[in-house]
Symmetry: D2
Subunit: 152 residues, 4 copies
């Protein structure tokens, strides 16, 4: 089991509704879609700092990122039309990479459906090689988060 | 109901298998996925002429296309793990656009699941404005198809 | 081109945001995803009447529906992170079927991205054969819509 | 980094082609789709033993399974139309759960795109509580695999 902090360590939450094409023949959300919910959490977390994310408007946080790792524990199931709360936090920051943690819960009964994490690597726009995270980005997260480990 | 030719007017067929995430809670393929099956048919139809389709290798048929229209009649349902036959033909060709027709059938009992069509527009690589289809492309299709209307 | 009413004939609108996995390598929303946006419009339109849609809570509008037809004209393109407005109305109602019309616009510049329609058939829960639409359902729509043709 | 065996420990491989809607605006396969490729590997691995998987025909391996965990390391990127080889093996078997390991490589240059694993739990058809894996299932895998740990 992944070691993910309790819900009260998370300061960012975003809500999504399960759609018809996201469940399978058992009527439950397909395991792959949780990675999409986690990504919605990550994008909205970054938007939360006031950034534009649309590539046509240029991503204004100065990052070009790749996902290096994802892990997820599935604890319960969600059905079509359920409202889900996606909790997102940054657990640690290294020189060019950082770690998102997530809790996904069903809004109706607050049951925990999944716990997950992902490692994101910042890269140079041209070479696609790992590049140091901008200080502004690091500082903003360290200020926002209550329990984020800085390892640089 | 769309007026789609009989199955024997189609000379190209490609097989796909229904996956878990493509069905809904009724256990049947979600209506949006038929557009994806139709696109698989269209891509494999073009590959059939010997073209490379990967953008990293440059699409060698000289086309940059947008989908202008899609229509689909749903006649029966498919379930997880069903094998589907995607029939694809070009029904007509104009100066810068052409029309794909499709029949999608369940392989096991040859029941027709859907009939669909789509209109594709060729555009200039830079301006994205409609551009005449290359003669080579038109000639190859007119030679391959038995009943394709040329309207240019 | 589909004959879809002007935007001011639509009384229901719902907003969705384009996510990373919904665009293709050209950076534009894949054609199949518009059917999903249309379905979000349809579901939220039905929810608007106060119905529960979740199958675990039993769909309280008394319908079991299949999609019989979808058509869509693609007029412009949307990119990752764009906010879209999904306009939905019921254009006509027959004994067991009815027709949804949609306009999808980009919120930022109000450009129309797509116009679409779909025909929905109500079926008997057990036999899956077409069944008359409940009077309650028909009356509610006829009261809500300003220009819906009743053909029963 | 996940500890996944070398490619030569894998006896099952299945090929998939990357489709238009599976890549994002960078032109690379979206991270969530690797879980779908891994599931294709798992399904075809099970089919390999001669089982029917379609629920309408009853899954003949006697299992009802849930995914309890997924992990994936992303090592390189794949583009639209790339052919991918999905390697799948069972790494260990416990009383009611077992572990799939995967390597995903690009067919053209045999570069490794991702390494992943997932834990599957067998449950009782009615109660959905963990249930012992059938002996037949365990024996078949132990016979097929060269390096699968039995922990029951």
């Amino acid at each position: 089991m992944l070691e993910i902090k309790d819900k009260n360590a998370f300061k960012h939450v975003f809500q999504v509704r399960v759609r018809t094409w996201e469940v399978d023949f058992l009527g439950i959300v397909h395991n792959s879609n949780y990675l999409r919910f986690m990504e919605i959490g990550r994008l909205e977390y970054r938007r939360n700092y006031g950034y534009e994310l649309s590539p046509t408007k240029k991503t204004t946080d100065g990052l070009k990122v790749f996902v290096a790792h994802n892990s997820i524990d599935y604890l319960s199931t969600a059905a079509f039309d359920d409202l889900l709360n996606i909790y997102t936090r940054v657990a640690w920051i290294k020189n060019s990479s950082f770690c998102f943690e997530h809790i996904i819960e069903k809004d109706s009964d607050k049951s925990i459906l999944a716990k997950g994490m992902g490692i994101i690597v910042n890269v140079d726009y041209k070479t696609n090689r790992p590049a140091d995270l901008p200080d502004k980005f690091v500082n903003e997260i360290m200020e926002f988060e209550t329990d984020c480990k800085l390892m640089r």
